[in-house]
């Protein structure tokens, strides 16, 4: 059912040439690279990657040095943009994840300056923005900020405001959201919990309603809720998969966000793993080309993001012995740090 070699080939292919429709993703190139390299690491296939040193050197060329701080740019698209060539929190997180996966010791970095960059991105309300002084704050950047500090092995500075912010995004149904009053969302829930975990402030017994929210993301249709199939967003084939919000379709990435979030709370055993695996392997896995699609819609093709998270969640539940286990707080192969 699951042939790792097909997926290894898929990620190697994505690390090679990407068609021009990926132009719109250019600014996320470090993200794409991280998805592929970490997936290969989980598939025990990093040895098939030629020229690791060349990749490491290239990553360092994306470093943006300022007088008092430094971090990585998203891609070459920002180079030579003068004052608009700035470090980005997401790019910095992905760069560090790639470097650590490839076994780099990060000694070329001035860790204090990177840490200073993270601090400069923090807002008065405790949240983090993607670049210094501009952009929308949300839980994704909170997770990235704490993850960067962990990879640098520096202490998460005073996290009391951050913790306050994360709690403010808790919605009435137990999920976390974009900001106070917004709709609960499984991906953002993962990010908030992971940020807390990395800050050393995650106490599972405080998050029971969040466990309820996450466990209810697993989709089930049977005779006891049959009328729900009237929902425009219902698909009986989603059985076993996870959605990100109430009354939405199942999507490969939410299997990861939900199970990883539950794993942070030591409760990933509460979901039906077999049903989830059946959904992933029968509905979103691309047997011929390798990788995973987002949903089971026939017009989709696999992309590196959903492919990586599909592999990673199978690694968490340790279904396929050919996939390594995952450190769910930093989303790297376990023991990479």
């Amino acid at each position: 059912m699951f042939d790792p070699s097909v997926h290894v080939k898929y990620f190697i292919r994505c690390l090679g040439l990407l068609p021009s429709r990926y132009e719109s993703e250019d600014s996320n190139r470090l993200a794409l690279t991280y998805f592929c390299i970490c997936a290969l690491d989980l598939l025990n296939a990093l040895n098939q990657l030629p020229e690791k040193e060349t990749i490491i050197d290239w990553i360092y060329t994306q470093l943006v040095e300022e007088s008092d701080h430094c971090g990585f740019r998203g891609s070459d698209i920002y180079r030579d943009c003068g004052s608009y060539d700035v470090a980005n929190l997401a790019a910095t997180g992905f760069a560090l994840q790639i470097l650590v996966s490839l076994g780099d010791d990060l000694e070329r970095l001035d860790k204090d300056k990177v840490s200073r960059f993270v601090d400069l991105c923090q807002r008065p309300n405790g949240s983090f923005s993607p670049i210094v002084g501009f952009g929308e704050d949300d839980l994704r950047y909170c997770m990235l900020a704490m993850m960067i500090k962990r990879l640098l092995r520096v202490d998460p500075t005073d996290s009391s405001k951050l913790i306050e912010y994360i709690h403010s995004t808790l919605a009435f149904d137990g999920g976390l959201s974009m900001n106070e009053g917004a709709e609960s969302h499984a991906g953002l829930t993962y990010c908030g919990l992971s940020a807390l975990k990395l800050a050393g402030k995650l106490e599972p017994r405080d998050w029971v309603s969040t466990i309820d929210f996450l466990v209810h993301r697993q989709v089930q249709f049977n005779i006891h809720n049959e009328p729900e199939l009237q929902n425009d967003y219902a698909d009986p084939d989603d059985f076993g998969g996870f959605n990100g919000r109430e009354n939405k379709y199942a999507d490969t990435c939410y299997a990861f966000w939900c199970v990883a979030a539950l794993e942070l709370l030591n409760e990933s055993k509460l979901v039906d793993r077999d049903a989830m695996i059946r959904f992933l392997l029968s509905q979103t896995l691309s047997r011929i080309t390798g990788g995973f699609t987002k949903t089971n819609s026939p017009d989709e093709i696999p992309d590196p993001f959903h492919s990586f998270l599909g592999i990673a969640v199978l690694g968490i539940v340790n279904q396929e012995k050919t996939i390594a286990n995952v450190d769910v707080a930093v989303v790297l192969r376990k023991n990479r740090l």
Partner: protein
């Protein structure tokens, strides 16, 4: 069209050893111009036009937005209301471009800072057009939430009736439920009795319409939780939907179990959770966990 030949930079996109995108010449030219203009931080009509082309191509370009923002602030005689119209056009034609909503909020803040006015009907109009396209667009609803906060639209007829309209069209629209919750309770700790009773009736009507819909059950529990009310009061509602020979809902069983736990009726709670293990098999381990928690 503008002439950019004086600013284009050489080799705008260097080859990389991984994830090399096969750039079209058109894309290379676009980035070459963008880099030249950004390097000079040129604030001009032609630069403004160029940012639009980049935004349409690479919405996630994280400094093109601040560049555009700096240009519109600086251009002499530039009408910021026109920038709001521009945002609407971009949003409608590129529904996946979510950065536009944060940018729109920055423009609104700027107009207010300059003592201008914001006609809310324009905001309602673009929001309606967007949500007609995709009634669960997360970023559009987030923007609407921001608007409620910014202009203190809590408990206004416009917001309440809009969510009613959306829920009449689709009672399972969780985004609409969530927005309604925020409009009613986002800035207050309490709800006057008349409003509370009306709201409880509203949601119970919706439960009657679709008893198996999770959103409405979450909503009513959310109100009880937020207002610190005793969920035991929901027992009659829950028992209405726990008749296995007639109409029933898994969420009613779940609520009844929670009420039993609250009332220290462990035996009854175990009975209900055991039933849920059978009926909601995918969460078998979870319901067992709930039983284990009782001990």
């Amino acid at each position: 069209m503008y002439d950019y030949s004086d600013v284009m930079v050489d080799e705008p996109l260097r080859p990389s050893p991984v994830c090399q995108i096969l750039y079209t010449d058109e894309f290379k030219e676009l980035i070459s111009i963008a880099k030249g203009l950004m390097q000079k931080d040129e604030h001009s009509e032609r630069a403004l036009a160029l940012t639009e082309r980049v935004i349409k191509k690479v919405a996630a370009h994280y400094t093109i937005w601040s560049y555009r923002f700096n240009i519109v602030q600086d251009l002499e005689g530039f009408d910021l209301q026109k920038e709001l119209d521009w945002c609407a056009q971009i949003a409608l034609n590129n529904p996946k471009n979510y950065q536009i909503w944060h940018y729109r909020s920055l423009i609104i803040e700027l107009i207010l800072k300059r003592k201008g006015t914001i006609p809310l009907e324009n905001e309602y109009s673009i929001l309606k057009q967007m949500l007609d396209q995709d009634s669960k667009n997360y970023h559009v609803w987030s923007y609407r939430r921001w608007l409620v906060e910014k202009f203190d639209l809590f408990r206004t007829d416009s917001e309440l009736s809009y969510t009613e309209e959306m829920l009449a069209a689709d009672v399972r629209n969780n985004s609409a439920w969530n927005h309604r919750f925020y409009v009613l309770l986002g800035n207050k700790k309490g709800l006057p009795d008349n409003l509370l009773n009306k709201e409880l009736e509203f949601v119970q009507d919706k439960i009657r319409l679709a008893p198996t819909n999770p959103s409405s059950w979450n909503y009513i529990k959310g109100i009880y939780f937020k207002l610190g009310m005793d969920i035991s009061n929901l027992e009659p509602l829950a028992t209405t939907y726990t008749d296995l020979k007639a109409i029933y809902s898994l969420f009613a069983f779940e609520l009844l179990a929670e009420i039993s736990v609250k009332q220290h009726k462990s035996e009854k709670a175990v009975e209900l959770y055991t039933l849920l293990q059978d009926m909601d098999g995918i969460r078998k381990r979870y319901w067992q966990w709930k039983i284990d928690q009782l001990a």
